[in-house]
């Protein structure tokens, strides 16, 4: 078992002929993902690498191939439209890799996608991987191995680091979910934790947070009240200078400055394990899987 994606995931790639899109589509196909369609307006009728049919619109792609998931590799100024297009076309999972999407775009995209009933992961995220079954996004396949630990993270490369260390220690993963680091994103920690709690195969969860916002505190609260499975957390940015994007005003609304210390305290009071270094996950998870 797994969360969000599995061997039945039928993927359409938006921006399949771009630099990043084409590179990672090859990687996904190589990994075994069912890439059933690509979308590049104006290239409808062509084939990617001679095998994957390309369509002008996501609606056409879904109609012709039954794609149920979309992954987006388009430039930031087109990403909001691409997310809405995918959701409107009826896919159930939209994964947006693109970095640099304006936050006001996301204030509109979020309710739009939600109203269609689709799940959005990202933007500015590495996507998901269910080792041995399907990879949607850019998480390197070879660092993962099937197992029973769920991984969820706001960071891209930090996720790889942790997954890499888990895999090297022989700890496999059910699904790794990169939710992305943007202020407004489609799937948050709680959504992923809820899914891992329900997934029969997942026995423990590794969760990587960052400074800023209060998502980690709310996730800790969720762990405390709604989860039976053990969760180990990490916060990046203990030594980082205060974030410069939002200033303090954001913290007033959230009622918190979003510091690493606050978040670690929240983890502790939720009874979670706390990793000080990425490599600490290995031991903390091992203890909880015994």
């Amino acid at each position: 078992m797994s969360v969000f994606i599995d061997r039945n995931t039928k993927l359409v790639v938006q921006g399949i002929t771009g630099r990043d899109g084409s590179f990672h589509t090859k990687q996904m196909i190589e990994y075994g993902t069912q890439v059933v369609a690509g979308v590049t307006p104006g290239k409808g009728g062509q084939k990617f690498e001679g095998t994957v049919p390309i369509f002008n619109t996501v609606a056409d792609a879904v109609k012709a191939t039954g794609a149920n998931t979309s992954v987006i590799y388009v430039p930031p100024q087109f990403a909001a439209d691409a997310m809405m297009e995918a959701a409107a076309a009826g896919v159930k999972l939209v994964v947006c890799i693109t970095e640099g999407v304006p936050v006001l775009d996301m204030t509109r995209v979020y309710p739009y996608v939600k109203e269609t009933g689709a799940r959005l992961v990202g933007p500015n995220c590495p996507g998901l991987i269910t080792p041995g079954e399907s990879k949607v996004g850019i998480i390197p396949g070879r660092i993962c191995t099937p197992g029973n630990v769920g991984v969820v993270s706001r960071s891209g490369t930090l996720t790889y680091e942790v997954v890499y260390q888990l895999t090297r220690a022989g700890i496999g993963q059910t699904t790794c979910v990169g939710i992305g680091g943007d202020p407004i994103n489609g799937t948050n920690f709680i959504d992923a934790l809820e899914a891992f709690e329900r997934d029969p195969k997942t026995r423990a969860v590794a969760m990587m947070g960052e400074i800023g916002g209060t998502d980690e505190q709310e996730a800790a609260d969720f762990v405390k009240h709604h989860m039976k499975k053990p969760v180990v957390g990490f916060i990046a940015g203990q030594t980082a200078p205060p974030g410069r994007r939002m200033g303090h005003a954001g913290a007033i609304i959230s009622g918190s400055a979003g510091t690493a210390a606050e978040k670690i305290d929240a983890f502790k009071s939720a009874g979670m394990g706390v990793a000080q270094r990425p490599k600490d996950f290995v031991q903390l998870i091992q203890e909880r899987l015994k």
């Binding site: 390197p140 660092i143 007033i252």
Partner: protein, 381 residues
């Protein structure tokens, strides 16, 4: 991107918000001329990207043009939080009856732009939030409909009992909302929103922060960037599409991804070192970025060792390896370098580095410990 007060005011004025007349000046003589033209008492206000300008002596009331020249002489060139004052805004001094606060920010939790309004204006809203939170009204705006007149009116009546003032404030809030969206803001605030003794509602100070991700599609806004008010290394990094923040340590860090970059800094500290910077080369890399990153880091004399920590996903490690080779060929390094890389195209990257005389590890903890030791003057393990 932060706008200066005068830039924010220029924008808000075009949306109809009543703002006292003012002009920007870079010399005491200009200040005097503008003050004389205004022909009334003026405020001379330092234009720097720093809070607490008033406390630092950067904002002065001047009863006439001669005084304005005198005060401006003191303000121009002064340092506020390490930033040199290059420009001042000379603006008509208004009589102030009451001071309120009106701001909009994008809120992660509600996933909406949220109005914050308070009758306790003129001071930092953080202070109001900390001491008298009940004095702040929060109003999230539904992005699908935008701010509605009735919502603005409700906020207007929260600020003022007088209907005329409430309506004037509501109109200003609708204008501020339009400006916020059109200018791609992540924050816009008027503080204080003033009621003059005559009963007029006007914006006496304004602040706008632009979402950097908006700048590509808003060239007119992007053109407002004032590079003279930023650290040169950060300007340089931004032009190279790198996220760079200068810190006080001696281990220069080059990492891909903000999360891993922060975790790397944390690990440097964990192993007893001090990071010299935060530097994220971002996703979709190319060798040029690495060349620029090395140039910026090696320009800092306090850097005693350089640590690369690259985990390839969308970043291809061969791009990074090529960048290191290119950069060091052009400008040979004067400090030791520790390279850790793994992930996408790792084998190719390792080969490139090896062929060019570099060694590289794939273990993060090892690499960090090694860099810390080298920065302290010890030998590489």
């Amino acid at each position: 991107m932060n706008l200066h007060e005068y830039q924010a005011k220029d924008i808000l004025r075009t949306y109809g918000i009543p703002i006292p007349p003012g002009e920007i000046a870079t010399s005491p003589a200009q200040v005097e001329a503008i003050a004389a033209k205004i022909g009334a008492a003026v405020m001379v206000k330092a234009q720097v990207h720093a809070g607490g300008r008033g406390k630092a002596g950067g904002v002065k009331f001047c009863k006439d043009a001669a005084t304005a020249r005198e005060k401006a002489t003191a303000i121009l060139g002064m340092k506020i939080k390490e930033l040199t004052v290059e420009k001042v805004l000379v603006t008509k001094a208004e009589d102030i009856g009451t001071e309120a606060y009106v701001g909009i920010i994008v809120d992660r939790k509600t996933k909406k732009a949220v109005f914050m309004v308070s009758a306790a204006g003129g001071i930092d809203i953080e202070e109001v939030a900390a001491t008298t939170p009940e004095k702040i009204l929060y109003h999230p705006v539904d992005p699908r409909y935008g701010l509605q007149p009735f919502e603005a009116q409700q906020m207007g009546f929260f600020l003022y009992g007088d209907a005329k003032q409430a309506r004037a404030a509501a109109k200003i809030m609708l204008q501020l909302w339009t400006a916020f969206v059109a200018t791609g803001c992540s924050l816009a605030e008027i503080n204080p929103l003033v009621v003059t003794p005559a009963g007029e509602v006007i914006a006496v100070d304004a602040k706008m922060v632009i979402d950097d991700n908006e700048l590509d599609r808003l060239p007119a806004v992007a053109a407002l960037r004032d590079e003279s008010s930023e650290a040169p290394s950060e300007v340089d990094a931004r032009k190279a599409n790198l996220t760079f923040i200068k810190l006080d340590g001696n281990v220069g860090c080059v990492v891909n991804g903000a999360g891993l970059a922060m975790a790397t800094m944390d690990l440097v500290k964990y192993y007893g070192g001090e990071p010299a910077n935060f530097l994220d080369i971002g996703g979709s890399s190319n060798p040029e970025k690495v060349v620029n990153a090395l140039r910026i880091i090696t320009a800092d004399p306090s850097v005693k060792a350089i640590l690369f920590n690259i985990f390839g996903g969308i970043t291809r490690t061969d791009d990074v390896a090529n960048g290191i080779v290119t950069a060091t060929k052009a400008n040979p390094l004067k400090v030791p370098i520790v390279i850790r890389l793994t992930g996408t195209n790792e084998e190719l990257a390792m080969k490139i580095l090896k062929d060019n005389g570099f060694s590289a590890s794939s273990d993060m903890d090892e690499a960090v410990q090694q860099a810390v030791a080298l920065a302290k003057g010890g030998k590489a393990a």
